[in-house]
């Protein structure tokens, strides 16, 4: 079914045969406005972030903005520790979430028997629905003490703890997008491989996964995007110390992310102060990062769809 054809049928008939009532014209106009709303909102978000963030550049020099010390009470506004904090925790989360998420997607889509699949899919969806504060709450009460005792470190509120929980938040996204991608690989591909004598694993590894690779890539990117933007969980379990991550041991030390900084400090700053503008500047940076991740992800998907249309036609 091609939705395009139907639309065309409808427009021509409408033009010829109908006397639209004023109410219908009004409703159709409203629907049109609603359709544009998403674009308007993205623009509004950008404009209002800019409006509050731009004064930062007059108030704080660029070199200071990228210096190594974030201590707003004494007017140190170096965002470098927050940036590296976000990077380290996101990277840690990705290292856990990507392999586990992709393997779970492969298992659910290709290996699991039907009954197990019907059980696992909703379960992963439930994980996606758990509010981030609940995960943070468990992180404080269960995971952090565990990390502290097993690793013999002074506090369990570390980047590692945050990364594990963030992985939990990213996994549902990765699993569902990757599983969708694996699902759309035509059955004929698998049948052909199996008929040629390949084992099921060879089919998965050499045929199905490569055929779904753009979807798998998108899944990875969206999962990572989710991890960068997560706020409450990291604020609760990473110890919130704005220090520069140096070396591998940094993963077992307290860190602070960009998102947690905004959430923790915005409640206490005076509107219009330097600190207030600096927090908006961090928000603008987060907005631009998520924009980049999502634009790339949708470009990859779009190209993949065109390619598969060519292949199948």
């Amino acid at each position: 079914m091609n939705p395009e054809d139907g639309t065309r049928v409808m427009t021509t008939t409408t033009r010829k045969s109908t006397h639209r009532k004023p109410l219908e014209i009004l409703l159709e106009a409203l629907v049109r406005v609603a359709g544009y709303s998403a674009v308007v909102f993205v623009a509004l978000i950008f404009i209002f972030l800019m409006r509050e963030a731009l004064p930062t550049f007059n108030e704080i020099s660029i070199s200071e903005l990228f210096s190594r010390r974030w201590y707003p009470i004494e007017d140190y506004f170096g965002t470098l520790p927050l940036l590296t904090g976000s990077l380290v925790i996101t990277l840690g989360a990705a290292l856990i979430a990507v392999p586990f998420g992709l393997m779970t997607a492969v298992y659910i889509s290709e290996i699991a028997p039907r009954w197990l699949r019907e059980f696992l899919k909703p379960l992963v969806e439930v994980l996606g629905g758990i509010p981030s504060v609940v995960l943070g709450f468990l992180g404080i009460l269960v995971l952090a003490p565990l990390v502290r005792e097993i690793l013999h470190i002074p506090t369990g509120l570390t980047a590692f703890t945050g990364a594990v929980l963030l992985a939990g938040m990213a996994i549902p996204t990765i699993v569902s997008v990757a599983e969708d991608a694996l699902d759309t690989v035509p059955k004929s591909y698998r049948d052909a491989a199996l008929a040629l004598g390949a084992t099921r694993w060879q089919t998965i590894w050499r045929i199905t996964v490569p055929a779904a690779r753009s979807g798998v890539l998108t899944a990875t990117m969206l999962g990572i995007g989710r991890a960068i933007g997560e706020t409450m969980t990291v604020m609760m379990v990473t110890g919130n110390a704005p220090q520069i991550a140096s070396g591998l041991s940094a993963i077992f030390m307290p860190l602070r992310t960009m998102t947690a900084t905004i959430a923790a400090e915005m409640g206490e700053v005076a509107n219009g102060s330097v600190h207030y503008h600096a927090l908006f500047y961090i928000g603008l940076a987060l907005f631009l990062i998520s924009l980049t991740v999502n634009l790339t992800a949708s470009a990859v998907l779009f190209r993949a769809r065109r390619r598969s249309e060519r292949l199948l036609s």
Partner: protein, 283 residues
Amino acid sequence: MHLSRYQTERIAFMVIGSATLLTVAPIIIVISAIFISGAEAISWEFIVEMPRDGMRAGGIWPAIVGTTYLAIGTGLISVPLGLGAAIYLSEYARESAWTRTIRVAIVNLAGIPSVVYGLFGLGLFVLFLKLGSSIIAACLTLSIMTLPVIISTAEEALRAVPQSFRVVSIGMGGTRWQTIRRIVLPQAMPGILTGVILGLNRAAGETAPILFTGAAFFLPRLPSSIFDQTMALPYHLFVISTQVPGMPLQIQYGTASVLLVFVLTMNILAASVRSWQRRKRQW
């Protein structure tokens, strides 16, 4: 050592199977652990009483009511808007650079970090429009955040209605709007409902967007108007687990359980609507 391809297969399946187990087992453990520890705290009084003694005793009624208000208010704004956008995309718009822009915008809205929504809500609704930190400002912020979920699920549901249904209705002399209103929407309703539930679920569970737009740290009464601040379950859980020293563990687990029940009920509701839809579908 050389493995036969069947041995490789067995090893690969074992690795993937155990990775899956490691992924899903914690979900079950986590949820049951919260419910087991929370069960002791939950009583009728815990649900319907005001918090007392700096939240260390009493119930969580204002937080439950607050979250319900926020979910309903968000729905009142985002459902008409999201449904309208979905109708536009599925029934009116043709593929063009402009609709592609709209789609890209929707994807981007879905990806914006929740705390950035909070900043935006603070900048636009609380300060610029002078709504103050209030239920209405929080609902508006949450509405924009849930919009992409509602638009994409509703559009998918509308597109799933076979083209022949529309063609027949138009052929019988129905106007385009009558076709949408009487034929397409009723057929797509279960799918739309699923999206609405999932979207509101997200709104009810989020904390970061309402931090600076309407959530009250402690408010031992129910909000009196939409310009009042309100307590909310997720923010309350955050407060009692990090900001209040000497908080009894029981109350913390109890609050987490109530929040989880809230969220899981909505999830189950969405899942049952979906399966009901599959059964009654006429095409």
